[in-house]
Symmetry: C2
Subunit: 213 residues, 2 copies
């Protein structure tokens, strides 16, 4: 099995803090995710700056697009984003629009299953529409209510779709190996890295755990 | 009946074009809406710039928030936004978070019913959570498939909730009076103004039609 990719969610709103966190953790991280509040706050120039500073990293822009898929996503691929996200609840036309924008720029489209009622059906349809990655995702507000992404990950993993599966939602040192073993090709970590006393050390530890799973 | 408010959707991605369109149409418009692709592209500085240039206009930031409601919306109210939107499909915790951020800054929260399966139930719950405005909204991708917001507007209007109702989705000169008569307190117009040969003239005409409805 290929080693999982480690994705760091850059959830700060501050431009300079975001760059600094990326610099600290870069050696251990494959994908820098510009979180949804962060991209809304800073705009496309943050994608350009991360692209310029980290030419060898993958950049995911967590647009969570809900409408106007191709129109909204296109400039973020143009600015150097490798992956943009689109909400599963947006529907087929919007997902297809983001896939089209991705294909036009050699990028990838990720469908976020957050709050999708029938996640298996949405994952199957998204794969048919050409989505490259399915994101199993328990949001911050749902995590605060005690929810986790683990059952959904197992459900979606069992479908055997020709996509990579990304999992996000409170993953930390104690859960990272379980999610890799459950089939996650991309493991998203946020607070367990950026909230640690040493983000670099936390990223290194989680990287090692993921690789050893 | 109070006269309806006219909201112009600023859907361009370009910072200067957005400011220019606002300047042209300002005399006829009550609310400047910074569209979702536009805010993701330009970031919070566009809110600050519109606030500085148009101290007497209402500014709506179409965040379409899906998660982390209070965290995501707070800086946009701080920057001078009067209204932020949150997706009805996000759920009660996220809606409550945006309402909390609004209340902390003397602003308003608008729940967007786009793609909500049970719109009446969501509207009722949103009103209970303290949302100020319910947005009946047919997105651009759904408009391209021939859908309109008119049936939903009538449905939500009939609930008699203590909220204002905003309606968006391809409204133009020929439909603006119908939506006002159907109970819309806020009428959102996009392409019928910014796509017109003279946006100022189109805004003036639609304003007059809305006021006369």
């Amino acid at each position: 099995m290929a080693k999982p990719l480690l994705q760091l969610a850059l959830d700060s709103l501050d431009f300079d803090q975001t760059i600094s966190l990326a610099q600290q953790t870069g050696p251990y991280v494959d994908i820098f995710e510009i979180g949804t509040p962060c991209i809304k706050h800073n705009g496309v120039k943050l994608v350009r700056e991360l692209r310029r500073r980290f030419p060898d990293k993958l950049i995911l822009v967590d647009l969570k697009t809900m409408d106007a898929g191709e129109y909204e996503a296109t400039p973020f691929y143009e600015a150097g984003g490798d992956i943009c996200t689109v909400l599963g609840v947006s529907g087929a036309a919007t997902i297809a629009g983001v896939v089209k924008a991705a294909q036009a720029h050699g990028g990838e489209a990720q469908v976020d299953l957050i709050n999708v009622p029938d996640k298996r059906q949405c994952a199957r349809e998204s794969a048919k529409l050409g989505a490259h990655i399915i994101g199993v995702h328990t949001g911050l507000d749902a995590q605060a209510a005690g929810q986790t992404p683990f059952a959904d990950l197992s459900d979606i993993g069992n479908l055997g779709l020709p996509v990579r599966i990304s999992v996000a939602g409170g993953i930390n040192k104690s859960t990272v190996q379980d999610v890799v073993r459950a089939g996650a090709g991309i493991v998203v970590v946020g607070a367990a890295i950026y909230g640690a006393p040493s983000p670099a050390e936390a990223a290194r530890e989680i990287r090692e755990l993921a690789d050893a799973a």
